[in-house]
Symmetry: C2
Amino acid sequence: MKKIHIIGLGLLGGSFALATKKAKPEMEITGFDSDEQNIAIALEMGLIAKSLSVPDKDTDLVILATPVDTLFDLLVKTLDQIGEHTLVMDFGSTKDQLCRQITEHPKRAQYLAVHPIAGTENSGPKAAKEDLFDGNVMIICEMEKTDVHLKGMAYDIFDALNLRLRFMDPKDHDLHLAFVSHLSHATSFVLGKTVIDKTADERNILDMAGSGFASTVRLAKSSPEMWGPIFIENKTNVLEALNSYIDHLAVFRDKIEAGDIQGLKDEMLEANKIRNILNFTE
Amino acid sequence: MKKIHIIGLGLLGGSFALATKKAKPEMEITGFDSDEQNIAIALEMGLIAKSLSVPDKDTDLVILATPVDTLFDLLVKTLDQIGEHTLVMDFGSTKDQLCRQITEHPKRAQYLAVHPIAGTENSGPKAAKEDLFDGNVMIICEMEKTDVHLKGMAYDIFDALNLRLRFMDPKDHDLHLAFVSHLSHATSFVLGKTVIDKTADERNILDMAGSGFASTVRLAKSSPEMWGPIFIENKTNVLEALNSYIDHLAVFRDKIEAGDIQGLKDEMLEANKIRNILNFTE
């Protein structure tokens, strides 16, 4: 394995380039982005060695790291361009629709549907971090539909990047992600909007917002270009998650309104269990 | 100034003790907690030199760092116990009701209403951190009602702890805090509860939850004993904030349902402004 081509030189694509360069310095990394400025930055930062609008025929691996609403067309176009020993994979946060759309494609075996559970609220090539993937989960969907040899090549590089592999049905993936990722992005965007709409005097927000607010609203800084398509494409699951959240909020609000302090404490004690489930660092 | 007495040896009281010990090693710090185990831990950790159920008459400063529903009775009791050169202040996250309740008290001038904008999702004396207050804001309400000399003593110690003083009307304080603190705690508790209720298989949450979810749900680990009384006492403002948030969520949900990607992106672009307002660190 010698050549990787990355389409979409933002946070994920750029971080994959940095991590791969570190783990496998011999790899030749090329890339492309629809934004010429991103290409220039990626070249300057050394994320890619050169920019190519079409990957070389002997490229081993093509990564698609663009917004989810661009992925189907890009995947079909890329499968048409590549040689027979090339694997294509996308990093999209939704997997079900794309897997269904591509299922009958003659080169389906040259595609691997993956989703790295990694990110920050920042976007663009400058946001790339060499350790973004380190120790995190890579979800792989419909692994049985991908050629064994090509898949093995992908697993090698995932291992080199210290990713932990998890295998999952695309429908399950999209439902679970709606609750543990897409929902928290929506709640954070809306929290930011609510507070901005209320508090015209920005100085007051600045002064009184503690680290708790900063943590809760952090994802409100995320890219609308990335998240708009995710919410729309995963609409059914995101709506289920959002409606459930709104129902839970109404219960909480009603308990406050009723002055039901014991009921409130019971709700919060249940929520406290997140402490045992997520063993995350501070 | 030689003696400080701290009632409530949890995160805030304990952190104040640690920071004061560092900034003013000559200070004698005594304390009390309704939980005997907290007293034992505070003594063992050296947060306090000894435990006293009633502060010495020559104590310079008494801090009340207990849940907000206990503060009025505790403040009245403490004002009755202290000498005439002692200042009492509370660290409660709501200020309006307490300021109104205490306004006619004959020793009103010996009370200073403050609220340190500092905290973590952890509670109890073991959660105390020496640098919890460092560089953060201390909000002071109705400063004109406190004796000038006693107030000066408080400002000296706030300066020593590197707190930045802000002066504010208690009603304004409670309204703004509802939006920039109490709301984000409510949204985080409810997010935790929603995800726990949905995802019975904890392993799935653990695997697929990225750092974004962890950040957004962090406050769901907060103490119900502390937060129940805050939500109830600041009910009017918290309900305004929660209802506004639910309205904003419904708008966001409706745009997803309608497939209105441009409308969604506009909402998120507005929310992105939080990046300019809050210059917080990652």
